[in-house]
Point group: C2
Chain length 228, copies 2
Amino acid sequence: MAEPQPLNIVFALFPGVTHLDFTGPHQILCRLPGAKVTVASLEGGEIEADGLIFAHLPRLTDVEACDVLVVPGGFGTTEAMANPAFLDEIRRLAAGARYVTSVCTGSLVLGAAGLLKGKRAACHWAWRDQLSLFGAIPDPGRVARDGNVFTGGGVTAGIDFALTIAAEIAGEDVAQTIQLAVEYAPAPPFNAGRPETAPARVLERVQRLYGQGMPERLAAAEKAGALV
Amino acid sequence: MAEPQPLNIVFALFPGVTHLDFTGPHQILCRLPGAKVTVASLEGGEIEADGLIFAHLPRLTDVEACDVLVVPGGFGTTEAMANPAFLDEIRRLAAGARYVTSVCTGSLVLGAAGLLKGKRAACHWAWRDQLSLFGAIPDPGRVARDGNVFTGGGVTAGIDFALTIAAEIAGEDVAQTIQLAVEYAPAPPFNAGRPETAPARVLERVQRLYGQGMPERLAAAEKAGALV
């Protein structure tokens, strides 16, 4: 049997990343035939995410190129969007990638890097509207595709997102094989995963938790000079 | 507002763990009020999982006690089941825990530790039947509960499992708040996540991939002296 073509997949991490934004897709995409997965950050070394410490990360500047670029999101998105060196690396890797992708508020990073102008993109529901600040068209879907740009919704959407990309790259049989291997037949105990279906008091609680981050995020976008 | 009661949650990792087995539940459970999450291993230090390196782990022997013990699974389960020192720590922590839990083939570790005798338990579908080797009753559900033992099915079932535990510990409002925050409204692109729904050729492919591990797993159980 012929060796599969090498497939270089790069996850670009930053401090304050939400780990499930990338561990979900990582667990799917690392099983693709020929996959060589690199999880990197601007400084290299270690990244702490929600108490987990991911170590021995190479620097993004040492990653020559990739086929698939994945940018996760998280509460550190604001700072990542305001970091010109990080955005430079995102732009450089995106320029050579077959697929430019993100999960959750990672699409705001792509936006701040100027990569979503005129493109439809998904995002975490609570920040989705802010995509328009970067000339993107907010897409309420769990996974959005616009040309070679694939974007996922909030956090857990990364699993649906990764299976979609797996099928695009390696075909439906491979994607379904991975889905069965990770037993992805979700059965949430509640129907509260979207603002449209969550009880009002639950939605209010999350909005209260998240509302505080909004002004800083706008300020960061302005600072990055990325507002349209 | 009163401070929430401290809630000590311990994830017991081992070499060859499947990272999404614990990163999924971790992302949910670390958001519980009062949660203090410890991710530990027998040797401490670093654990590599599917290419990701989790660092600065304390030793299980240095963890005094916990309220919730979570044992994930993975391709290293066989070795974990045959490691008496690891099983000793699992038994010790389980003895003082309010909830003894597992995801995926982690239930086989609980079984090998003698903690599932006469209890219903879930497991990754491909290894579920082997629970009976340890006197457990295989449960085809995505999340199974028997008294204070909560077990999840394969890999991604850990998210449904964690939301179930979140509701048990902190109530449905809190669980739903976390569900909305991580936008858990799954929409798999295919219906191949269970052997009953996957196309026959996909099921055969996964069975072929996994079938090889079975005899070694049985041998490990015998070696652990845990067979009923």
